[in-house]
């Protein structure tokens, strides 16, 4: 069983970056000074990822205002809409409003990826993207196209983005799909989700695709998750009982959200190792990807950093001399 660790969402902004972005909005600091701090903080996130032994690099996606903004601002057909609650949290996103069928503008999304992930950083980079179902379900669709068809259309556009990014050397693509477990698709919508991921799979050419779910129990929707044409399915173990994960997920790569960003309480590495072994014994996954379940930016920078240390600690327990035991 291959074991991977890493980040699965946007990382929190440092306190210095919080102050600088506020100052920028109030006209108290320049764009150049803010840019310099962004670059320095991205380097700090990369250093943290290296220190913790993470397999992939994200640089934190610190400039992204929310998960959808990079697409809503670089694809035609969208405007950025009202502030909307992000699931059952006290955080919010600006709801994209789709007026006409969306069209991507080649090269523009790639330009929004963190700079440390370009050039030599490409091979180790993890590209974060909204999943087609979550993106469709949370936008305000005024395009006239039914949601069920739009899911597939957005899947095809994401596939084009993947194709372009694969051409630049990116290998790992993670699609955020909290809506899949919060409001599981049924009937035609479920078929459209499957078709969307099929489109993406066609453009992967040997790369890795991950679907990451959180903010809900993955067990009821696991049969659908198992049918997705992706290499890894991530579940939030703060919401999902391991014992209830169906055998449909057997032998698939599985992502485990073992760090819970809803609390500052640091998880116990032994407990994390125990639960990973329980998954291994039940589902015999081809690979296990350990991370946080819900987005880590539900925490401030310092407690997020503190909590992530459990991942290498658990990994050491799992890969040590007694790693296969109990």
């Amino acid at each position: 069983m291959q074991l991977h660790t890493g980040l699965a969402s946007v990382f929190p902004r440092s306190e210095a970056l919080v102050a600088a972005t506020r100052d920028f909005d109030r006209g108290r600091t320049s764009a150049e000074a803010l840019e310099e701090l962004y670059a320095r903080t991205e380097t700090e996130v990369i250093a943290l990822e290296e220190r913790l032994g993470f397999d992939a690099r994200t640089a934190g996606y610190l400039r992204w205002q929310d998960l959808f903004r990079p697409l809503a601002e670089t694809w035609d057909g969208f405007t950025v809409g009202p502030v909307t609650r992000w699931f059952q949290t006290n955080t919010f996103f600006r709801r994209p409003v789709l007026h006409t069928p969306p069209e991507r503008r080649p090269g523009e999304l790639a330009a929004r990826l963190p700079k440390p992930l370009t050039g030599p950083g490409v091979a180790a980079a993890k590209v974060l993207l909204p999943g087609p179902y979550t993106f469709t379900g949370l936008l305000d669709n005024r395009s006239g196209e039914p949601d069920s068809a739009l899911i597939h259309r957005i899947g095809r556009l994401l596939a084009e983005e993947v194709k372009e990014l694969r051409g630049k050397g990116y290998r790992t693509f993670q699609f955020q799909e909290p809506l899949l477990v919060d409001r599981p698709p049924e009937g035609v919508a479920a078929e459209s989700v499957l078709a969307a991921y099929q489109s993406i799979a066609h453009q992967l050419s040997g790369g890795t695709s991950i679907v990451w779910t959180y903010h809900g129990d993955a067990a009821p929707v696991a049969p659908l998750l198992a049918r997705l044409a992706v290499g890894v399915v991530g579940v939030d173990l703060a919401e999902t009982e391991v014992a209830k994960l169906p055998m449909a997920l057997e032998h698939k790569g599985i992502g485990l959200g073992v760090v819970d960003p809803r609390t500052t309480l640091v998880e116990d590495a032994g407990e994390v190792a125990r639960i990973v072994r329980a998954v291994r014994d039940r589902l015999h996954p081809s690979s296990v990807w350990l991370s946080h379940g819900a987005p880590i930016d539900l925490l401030p920078w310092e407690p997020a950093t503190r909590k992530l240390h459990v991942l290498p600690a658990a990994r050491q327990l799992l890969e040590g001399p007694d790693g296969g035991g109990r």
């Binding site: 929190p12 919080v18 972005t21 205002q65 006290n90 996103f93 609390t263 500052t264 539900l298 407690p303």
Partner: protein
Amino acid sequence: MSDLPLFPMQEIGSLMKPRWQLLGQRGEPLDARALDELEIWEKRLPLADGPMAATVKALRAGRPREAGAEAVRDLGALFALRFFESVGLHRVYDGEARRIEMYEHAIRQMRGFQFQGHVRSFDNKYYLKAAGTGEIRLERPYHLEEFDFVQRHARATPKIPITGAYTLADWSYNEYYLSRTTGWKNRATRRSAQREFVVEIARQALRPTIAALVAAGARVIQIDEPAAGTHPDEADLVVEGFNAATDGIDAEFSMHICYSDYRDLYPALLEAKRCRQWAWEFANRDFEDRDGYAILNLLNEYGDPREVGLGVLDVHRDEIESPELVADRIRRTVRILGDPRRLWINPDCGLRTRSLDVAYAKLEAMAKGAQQVREEYEPSRR
């Protein structure tokens, strides 16, 4: 309510702080904009002849340090009181003129919390978030000084807003109570730890504060629970927190909830026995199809006889509601609830996001709209 007219009016909480207050309490001389603002509002709400004449004079003269930060804050509180009273509200407060916001101020009065840093709310907006890291203890009851000021200066009845236990818990990390559980922290474990957290905040901090306020003369208290609708499966915790915070206290309580699906909160809310009034947001959801108030059928479905503080002003838009629209919203609600005596009229939520001009115009429209309907039901008051 016997000496009040039908459809009495109240405010819900915060008001934008005037620029002269913000600059003045920092000891900075007022710029032209702040001076203009002071002059314009002075004409509408005379403050210079009142107990704060010296403070107004110092501000006008560009010497706020002479008055001192506390006196400027006092003037801000008095301004808010007169702002609300001049529109004709029957219950008023100080627009939260002395509070930074509704979470941090309360948490800073308690032991058992540690601030962890900033979490992004959206875009470049953040809030400071604390973790409950130990047993909750109250350093000292809070809001007493501001209430004392309001009580001494208010001409209408004071109604004090206090952030509820559930919201304080939900906007914090629960570390201490979760750490006392064993095994994997699954949903059931988290819920049980959250229940302890909410109830301890209510018992150890909220209740002693409310009791002290009542002992100081507070009669009308609004418990603010904006987080109530965040987790539909925790509606019973909202109620447990409310009941624990008000246990054995004789006062008139209301609960303010906003931007939530109220349906998710029933039937749990029925158990908030000491709550006399629901003060909820509705105007924000009253679109072209005009069904924003239909959700009040819930109260009929569940046989909930409580008063309703009816949000008739959308606090997130500058557009001023017409008195006719306000009147129509009241009439629609009376048709749903039956008894017009159950209604109080108020904005959806605190008006702090609107400019003072917009907030005042909205409140004036609210007063005119309420008067229109009042005359239909009580022609003798015409």
